[in-house]
Symmetry: C2
Subunit: 430 residues, 2 copies
């Protein structure tokens, strides 16, 4: 096997080589930049990328006397997250050229850990549905998913090892799955959002995209602002798995159904107690609950843009989320929020009987067409539930495009999610 190029390494591998003196932040950055130069015309993952700024950061890191847990790792930052040295445009011409005066908390924590902010990755308009310019790296006729489109495409295409996205519905899990990445949505509330555009605060989280579970675990501790701590060397014991097909099962394609059934079978074979999990009827209106909460909040958060730039908001956004959001009454919003809290407690109960839920990450391979970003249906339940979830890039479909499977655990058990993700990957030699 030929040695991997630097841009193909995981974050963990980069840190280990740099701290051992085998390479430098500058060499890694240059290799990523070279590869990006070659691939960017076909992928369009970057909203902002300044070679000189990248190299300046890399040299400063190499000159520095400390070595952080993310030393020299190039990280892509979704362009709804503030950066003091790069524009932040929220995916809309309304904010073209806007340069924040300070870094978002997650960016500052990344820099403190020795991470190199590579650039700003393309987001859909206001992290909603109207797509940006990014194309799927493996097929330019297909969507890379959204709203963290550029973050997922850049990591999937191996331009960078690590990226930050966000999730309000399925904006990390879906694009990560489409691009063959690991995608992680943390327990709601764990990672601070200061300096991140609020879409719908009741549901918003950061989302991390990487090419290994170890990288996700590493970066999550950095962003939580706590000491890094490697995952346990011992594999976790075989879990109690609930296979949850959900009411969206009939909308999935054959390859996705096969992926879930085969993953469940592999888990059972490895000693897991695998049973079917059918959710209570209270979960049936999940899409309406999610829509009410997210649209009501989103429409109010965009008050300034509505006041001053309504005509520059996309028709997609105006006629869907904004229109719905402005039409709901406060009582309808509160009712949905209360229902969401009830579902959250019901999920806590479910996790007395199950260690982990297995469900699709998306209904199938990334769909053809660049005017939409695919369905987030398979994330709506866990997003409202505030649960941590992870998509694992273990399968592919009839077009040789990635198909992910999604694992979900109880709120506040994110490290266990990492361990059971690693256990599952090991079944596939990953």
């Amino acid at each position: 096997m030929p040695e991997k190029m630097l841009h193909e390494l995981t974050a963990t591998e980069i840190v280990s080589r740099i701290t051992a003196g085998k390479t430098t932040a500058e060499a890694v950055a240059r290799d990523c930049l070279d590869y990006i130069a070659q691939r960017e015309p076909a992928v369009q993952a970057w909203q902002f990328l300044d070679l000189e700024l990248v190299l300046q950061q890399a040299r400063a890191l190499d000159r520095g006397t400390t070595r952080g847990p993310l030393q020299g790792v190039p990280v892509g930052i979704k362009d709804i997250i503030d950066t003091a040295d790069m524009p932040t445009e929220y995916g809309t011409p309304i904010h073209a050229g806007h340069r924040p005066h300070m870094d978002a908390a997650c960016v500052a924590l990344t820099r403190r850990a020795g991470g190199l902010i590579m650039g700003k990755t393309v987001t859909t308009e206001f992290a909603n549905r109207h797509p940006g310019k990014t194309m799927h790296p493996m097929d330019p006729a297909r969507t890379p998913g959204g709203s963290s489109s550029g973050s997922a495409a850049a990591v999937g295409d191996r331009m960078i090892p690590l990226a930050v996205g966000t999730q309000t519905t399925g904006s990390t899990i879906r694009p990560a799955a489409y691009n063959g990445c690991f995608g992680y949505r943390p327990t709601w509330g764990d990672l601070r959002l200061a300096g991140v555009m609020e879409a719908a605060g009741s549901l918003d989280t950061l989302g991390l995209i990487a090419r290994s579970v170890d990288d996700i675990a590493l970066y999550r501790n950095v962003l939580a602002g706590v000491p890094t701590q490697a995952l346990s060397v011992e594999p976790c014991k075989p879990p109690r798995v609930g296979v949850c097909r959900t009411q969206f099962w009939n909308d999935t394609d054959a390859a996705t159904k096969t992926a879930i059934e085969s993953c469940a079978a592999a888990m059972a074979k490895a000693g897991a107690k695998v049973t079917d999990l059918t959710l209570l009827a209270s979960f049936e209106p999940i899409e309406e609950i999610h829509q009410r909460i997210s649209s009501f909040e989103f429409a109010r958060n965009r008050a300034w843009e509505i006041n001053h730039h309504y005509e520059r908001i996309s028709k997609t956004l105006r006629e869907n989320r904004l229109k719905h959001g402005l039409a709901y009454s406060f009582e309808q919003y509160c009712e949905a929020r209360a229902q969401g809290e009830k579902l959250r407690l019901q999920l806590d109960d479910i996790f007395r009987d199950y260690d982990v839920i297995l469900t699709p990450s998306a209904p199938g391979e990334p769909p053809v067409g660049l005017n939409a970003t695919g369905s987030a249906a398979f994330s709506s339940i866990w997003t409202v539930g505030h649960n941590p979830s992870m998509t694992l890039p273990l399968f592919s479909g009839p077009n040789k495009l990635p198909i992910g499977v999604q694992l979900i655990t109880r709120r506040d058990t994110d490290r266990y999610l990492f361990e059971v993700s690693r256990w599952t990957c090991a079944l596939y030699g990953r």
Copy 2:
């Protein structure tokens, strides 16, 4: 009784006079400006106030063809809330002169309703404990309370009828009480925080400060982005009141104890079922729970300032909240957050037996000394509980300074809180 000056009117009165053509936004603004010019040297409520900008806004409102629900009402905005046409400095020299490129959602919603953004009111450093320059309007040797110091002093001194603050512990209730205002902390999550500096997202809310319950109800609907709707004309029926002295009762002064006992007696006399409410032992560690959640989140949200300007952060902040926040482990934080959620559900249960809780707003009159902002102990329980609360300016102490009483209702019953507040005020002819 001499007719009130324009700056002494409530928001509701101003809107009614302007829409009836009896006065203009400009006349109201000019009267407020005149009064501010006279009083500001002694109070120092304003971080930013530009006469010309105020008059421009007023004339534009008067020229406009629409009349909004806050038509021509001068509003003060706490200086941790972004404004596109005024600096926003977060109470720290680190951000001196910073001018955001857009309005926070609450500011944009205020303008949309015809409100006039008067200026930026003084906040403590990062809405924490290190005081700003504001003095108590009735006694310059005393604190106006914090962190919404300028908002409360400006409304209490009748410079303006309405102001926005925020609350992460007791940052609205306490200064509102000290300044003889109505202060309202909404159900957590009701009013959007886009464009508001995040202190600790799990606890942060906006807070409204006014001189009447009707004004609070009016402005709250504006900020929720829903149609305004007057409170019911019928008084609400006498409530079931729980008098909750809490574990902080021994720290209150005699006047505060008398205020609570006398308010409870007046309520009972008016037909309320008034009983003592003793909280479960699970509420005893409330200050530790609050401290862990707020400090852990606050310290991570300030990552950029810590990276770049650590030495310009006050010693008070560095050696208290930041030091504690950085020392807690993630597990300690999660444990506190889980305890907080449990208390929230226990409070829901308590509100099966009680319609409203009566408790002090602060331990006494505003204390002497400008190097601290008073105790927030009487807000910690309801802040962690996510409950709506209101301080009513019904009493005064031995120094003729204001003493408030605080009402708290179940989450999501903010309109009922307004009605029961009005019912209580009516017992005192307010």
